[in-house]
Structure formats: structure tokens, C-alpha cells
């Protein structure tokens, strides 16, 4: 095991004509602060990660009916996700091909077609130019004026992903082991469908976006950053495990490969539904429906293991019964979106519980994330000057690689962040 020297104060120019040498900035056990502070690195991340790879766009349940649409940002690229009349979900660049106007300014709605407010050009759900006012002046074949769109769009468990790069490979290859993580959370619904329809709350961070995936799967910080939460809430709750000593913790930090990383809490649960803070006796209908859907044994296993706590590279987070999006704005600004992972086919009382837990954990007024954003903002302040190295070595000496390639570490180890940076380095060097 090679541990880097802590002495080298590398300095990286703010902007140069040649790309940074990422291999010199990201090592196995440390990462240089300039990847959080360089505008050039940020621009390259947009190009290589957000336009060159697969990114999460939205969930099919957000556009349940034909003509339903939503708008999002993929990196800095505005897009529309629309349910076409044949039921297919299309992703289109949200930019009129005439004069570049933002075609659809609303966050969501219903539209049979998209008409630009500037000169009235109309595009159908496939992005084809379908109408132009004052046709006499048309001088170009409409076929070359379709909306741009991602080359690839695919789904897993209703989660829609897209890539602007035709050579990004299939989604299944990008997801790898993460497919099972998504499927595990989705299968907590007796119908196998989750609903992201309670609305999103967005939390602003004056910090680099990569602190979101890093912090989301950092199993080391809770007793310190969240000491006030644990002191107030942990006794007799599902959060009690966070107060255990290093030797008592049973949860694990897992690098599933390809930048997808997780905190695995299933080993900490002693009974079904502990993750939901309830018991089989209190929600008998849910338990019965799960058994009917999946069989007795499989249902109990699902209710025992609970949802995943996983970051899906680069911008999706399945945070137990929350779904979150990491949205970069600029090198020192980002937004964390979250919505509860509601279950189709369960009583409203269960989904209300999930909503209440979501409000407790995530968002600007939550008992947890409100404090994380302060830490991220302080980090950004601390890194913005001369900078230096950030250590990633914790647990390098005690993690295990399993047969499927996944690396398992102690819950407090930086196995997860090393997994993120390893994929990041590979993508940025490609």
C-alpha cells in the first residue's frame, strides 16, 4: 500500500491552456483541493461527466400521463423530460433551435407540444419542428432544425438516465452493481413501483458539488457533525446505531465499482421495518401485501434489509427513503434536491411517515442536512486560498475486496469516497 507524502504543496494554475494532470491531483489516498476550486476543472466536469457520461434526469412517476413534462438541468444543460402520447419518455434540449431561447420556462406541466414564446416555433414530443409562423420565409429543411437531444436515454426501476455521448455504452454497463441497489429500494413497494410525486425541496450550498456525493456516503462524520441530532433524537430510534463505538458498528461502507458507493445499514437492523422506525404489527397490511407480491421469505428479507443508502455516479443519491439530485451550478455553488421515495400500493399513513422522515433528514430545515451544508461551505472557504491535500486514507489497511469486485470497509472508512474518486479520475482522464 502506497501512502502519499503529506509534504508536497502542489499548486495548480487557476486556468491554463492544457488540461490539468488529473493523475497528479487525485491519488488513491488523497485528493488535491484544486479539483474543488478550479473553474477549468468544473468546465471539464460538465463536458466529461455530465455531457460525456450517463446522468440521472428524473423518474417516470414524475410524468405519469401522456403530455406531462418536467424541466431539469443536466450539468449546465437545460432539458425537458416529456411523456409522449405513446407512453415513451423523451429527453430534449430545452433550447429553441431558432434563436436559442429557453423553450420551456416552467418546472413542470402538461403540453401537447412546445411552442417557443419568442417567434412561435413549435416542437413535438420527439423534438421535431412541427410548426413555424409565416411559412413563406422558411428557407431550410425542417428536419435539420429538430431540438438537440441526448444520444442515449434508458431507465432502471423507473429512474430515467440520459447521455449526450453516443459512445457512452449501455446504461446497464454504467450502472453495473448499482442496478441491484436501485432495484432493492424500488422493491420496497408491493407493486414494484415508487412514486416521486410529493414535490422536491432544494437546498443551496455555497460549495463545490462534489462535496454532495462525498458527504452523502461519509459514514464517519455523523457523531461529530450531527452530535446535536444524536443527542436529541437517537435514544430509542433507528438512529441509535450511529452512537455506537467503532467496534460495535455493524454497518459497512461499500464501493460497488464505477463510482457507485453505499453505506450498507442492513447488518445493523435486528428486525423488519426498523429502517422505517416501525414494526410488522403496526403496518400489517403493508407486510401482507409485500408477502403476497414477493413470497414470504423474500418479503421478510426486503423488509429486514430496507432501502439502500447509495450515491449513483455522478448525480443521483438514493438516501434510504429519499431520492436526491446533486446539481452543480458553478465551481463553488451547487443545489441538493430531495424528495421522499414514496411507495405505490401502500396506505397513505406509510407514505406520510416517509414524508415526515424525509423532512427530518434532508433539506434546509432538517435536523441533519442543515448542518452538513454549513460544513461544506466552511470547507469551500478553507480550500479557496492556497489549498492543499485532502486525506482519503482512512481504512485502507482493513478493507476487503469481494468476488463481485465490490470493496467493503468499516462504516467509518473512506472506502466510499475512494470509490467516487477512482471513477472520477477515470472519467476525467478519458
Amino acid at each position: 500500500m502506497q501512502i502519499s507524502s503529506q509534504s508536497l504543496p502542489a499548486t495548480i494554475p487557476i486556468y491554463s491552456h492544457s488540461p490539468p494532470d488529473y493523475g497528479a491531483l487525485i491519488e488513491r489516498d488523497r485528493v488535491h483541493s484544486s479539483v474543488y476550486t478550479s473553474a477549468q476543472v468544473f468546465d471539464e466536469e460538465m463536458r466529461k461527466l455530465f455531457y460525456g457520461g450517463w446522468v440521472f434526469v428524473g423518474h417516470e412517476s414524475e410524468v405519469p400521463n401522456a403530455n406531462d413534462y418536467l424541466t431539469r438541468m443536466l450539468g449546465r444543460e437545460p432539458v425537458i423530460m416529456v411523456r409522449a402520447r405513446d407512453g415513451a419518455i423523451n429527453v430534449l434540449a430545452n433550447r429553441c433551435t431558432h434563436r436559442g431561447n429557453l423553450l420551456c420556462p416552467r418546472e413542470k406541466g402538461t403540453a401537447r407540444a412546445f411552442t417557443c414564446d419568442y417567434h412561435g416555433w413549435t416542437f413535438n414530443h420527439a423534438g421535431e419542428l412541427a410548426g413555424v409562423p409565416s411559412r413563406g420565409g422558411e428557407a431550410k429543411d425542417r428536419a435539420c432544425l429538430s431540438l438537440q437531444k441526448p444520444a442515449l436515454v434508458d431507465q432502471c426501476g423507473g429512474f430515467v438516465f440520459a447521455s449526450f455521448n453516443p459512445d457512452a455504452g449501455p446504461l446497464s454497463e454504467h450502472l453495473g452493481n448499482a442496478r441491484h441497489l436501485i432495484e432493492r429500494s424500488v422493491s420496497l413497494s408491493p407493486t414494484g413501483r415508487v412514486l416521486l410525486n410529493a414535490g422536491w425541496v432544494k437546498q443551496h450550498f455555497q460549495a463545490n458539488w462534489k462535496m454532495l456525493p462525498e458527504n452523502s456516503t461519509d459514514g464517519y462524520h455523523a457523531p461529530f457533525t450531527h452530535a446535536s441530532f444524536l443527542r436529541t433524537f437517537a435514544p430509542n430510534s433507528q438512529y441509535e446505531m450511529l452512537t455506537q463505538g467503532e467496534d460495535q458498528r455493524r454497518s459497512k461502507a461499500v464501493d460497488w465499482g464505477r463510482g457507485h458507493v453505499a453505506l450498507e445499514h442492513a447488518p445493523s437492523y435486528d428486525r423488519p421495518l426498523q429502517w422505517l422506525g416501525t414494526t410488522e404489527e403496526k403496518v400489517p397490511d403493508y407486510v401482507a401485501d409485500m408477502k403476497a407480491a414477493y413470497g414470504e421469505e423474500a418479503a421478510i428479507k426486503k423488509l429486514m434489509e430496507g432501502p439502500v443508502h447509495a450515491s449513483i455516479f455522478p448525480n443521483l443519491f438514493l438516501g434510504e427513503m429519499n431520492v436526491a439530485i446533486f446539481q452543480p451550478i458553478s465551481v463553488n455553488e451547487c443545489v441538493l434536491w430531495h424528495t421522499p421515495l414514496l411507495l405505490d400500493g401502500v396506505a397513505q399513513q406509510i407514505n406520510t411517515r416517509i414524508i415526515r422522515q424525509s423532512q427530518a433528514a434532508m433539506g434546509p430545515s432538517s435536523f441533519l442536512l442543515a448542518d452538513d451544508s454549513i460544513i461544506s461551505e466552511r470547507q469551500q472557504t478553507a480550500l479557496d486560498g492556497r489549498g492543499g491535500w485532502l486525506d482519503l486514507s482512512r481504512g485502507l489497511g482493513r478493507e476487503e475486496t469481494h468476488d463481485d469486485g465490490a470493496i467493503w470497509g468499516h462504516i467509518s472508512d473512506e472506502t466510499t469516497n475512494r470509490g467516487f474518486w477512482s471513477r472520477y479520475l477515470e472519467a476525467m482522464q478519458s
Binding site: E107, A198, G199, W200, V201, K202, Q203, H204, Q206, T225, A227, S228, F229, R231, T232, F233, V335, H338, T339, P340, Q348, N351, T352, I355, R356, S358, Q359, A360, G363, P364, S365, S366, F367, A370, D371, S373, I374, I375, E377, R378, T381
Partner: protein, 177 residues
């Protein structure tokens, strides 16, 4: 229900008991000052047991049970929120934000003989002393529901905060808004 609505403090209708109106105004100003100054125990003493403290998310027709709120605290959770602030380890309010809020365009109506509903526009200036050292402006509308207590004072059993930018990205909001 004998509801009397006033458009502005200067326009108290004659059928609305001026003493009652003044008591409500005094309550709103005091509640705002206690929140501004992070005087949590005194603020908490204003609450009734059936309190709902609610900041809806930016969705149409918000509902605390079926849509995601920024926060929706019943009395017990609000007690926990205050207990967390009082640990001295709530990083997002460590140190507490210096704040001042202005209330205006106050309207009130009687819910019953003992209960009053009031509305106010607010502008709140928060100095984010914990991290960015910038002033953040919060703005929106408050709805309060107040109940006369046995001793003649008022207690609060509902406070709804509709932020103008509830649908937009919000920085840490861990203080009492």
C-alpha cells in the same frame, strides 16, 4: 363566525375590540423579537400543545401529510427542534444568526370568541455568521392562529410561513423563522 378583517393596523374596523386587536399585535411583535434573538425558551412558552409550525414546499396545494414541506413540526417535533438548538452543537446555528424581521400589512379575523387568526407580510434579514458571512433576505407571509389562555395572555397553536422562494434553492434554515 363573526369575522372582522382589517386591511391594515390603521384601518381597524369599529366592531373589532381594540383591546383584543392590540393584544394580537403585541403578541406578533414579541414573537418576532424572541425568534430574532434566538430566545428559544421564551418563544417555546408561547406555544399551545396542538401547535403546528409549517413551512410548506413550493408545490401547488401544499398539505403537510401528502406533500413535501420544508418543515412541518407538530408540538413534539418542534420541541425536539428547540432542544437540538439548545445543545450548543447545532452547527447551522452555532453561533446563532443575528436576525431582524419586519412585519407589515397585518390582517386579523376572529375564529371564535377565544381564537384569532392573523396574517402578516414579513421581510427577514439573516446574517449567516456560521459560514458565508453574507446577509440573506427571507420574505413571505405568515399566518398565525392564537388562542386566549386562562390567564388572559395569548398562546400560538399554528404558524404557517409561506416563503416567496419556497420552490427555489434555500440555504440552511435552522433558526425559527
Amino acid at each position: 363566525m363573526n369575522a372582522s378583517v382589517i386591511e391594515h393596523v390603521a384601518a381597524i374596523p369599529v366592531d373589532f375590540d381594540p383591546a383584543k386587536c392590540q393584544a394580537v399585535l403585541n403578541f406578533l411583535v414579541r414573537e418576532a423579537r424572541l425568534a430574532d434573538e434566538s430566545r428559544w425558551d421564551e418563544w417555546e412558552a408561547l406555544l399551545e400543545d396542538d401547535m403546528l409550525y409549517w413551512v410548506p414546499g413550493g408545490v401547488p396545494n401544499p398539505d403537510p401529510d401528502t406533500t413535501l414541506s420544508i418543515l412541518a413540526d407538530h408540538r413534539a417535533r418542534l420541541g425536539n427542534r428547540i432542544a437540538q438548538l439548545k445543545t450548543g452543537r447545532r452547527l447551522s446555528q452555532q453561533p446563532v444568526s443575528p436576525m431582524r424581521r419586519l412585519l407589515s400589512n397585518i390582517e386579523m379575523e376572529a375564529i371564535s370568541d377565544t381564537e384569532t387568526r392573523a396574517y402578516a407580510n414579513f421581510a427577514l434579514y439573516e446574517y449567516r455568521v456560521q459560514s458565508t458571512h453574507q446577509i440573506v433576505q427571507w420574505a413571505g407571509r405568515y399566518e398565525y392562529r392564537l388562542r386566549a389562555r386562562a390567564d388572559g395572555s395569548l398562546g400560538m397553536f399554528y404558524k404557517r410561513v409561506d416563503l416567496l422562494n419556497a420552490a427555489g434553492p434555500l440555504p440552511s434554515l435552522a433558526f425559527l423563522i
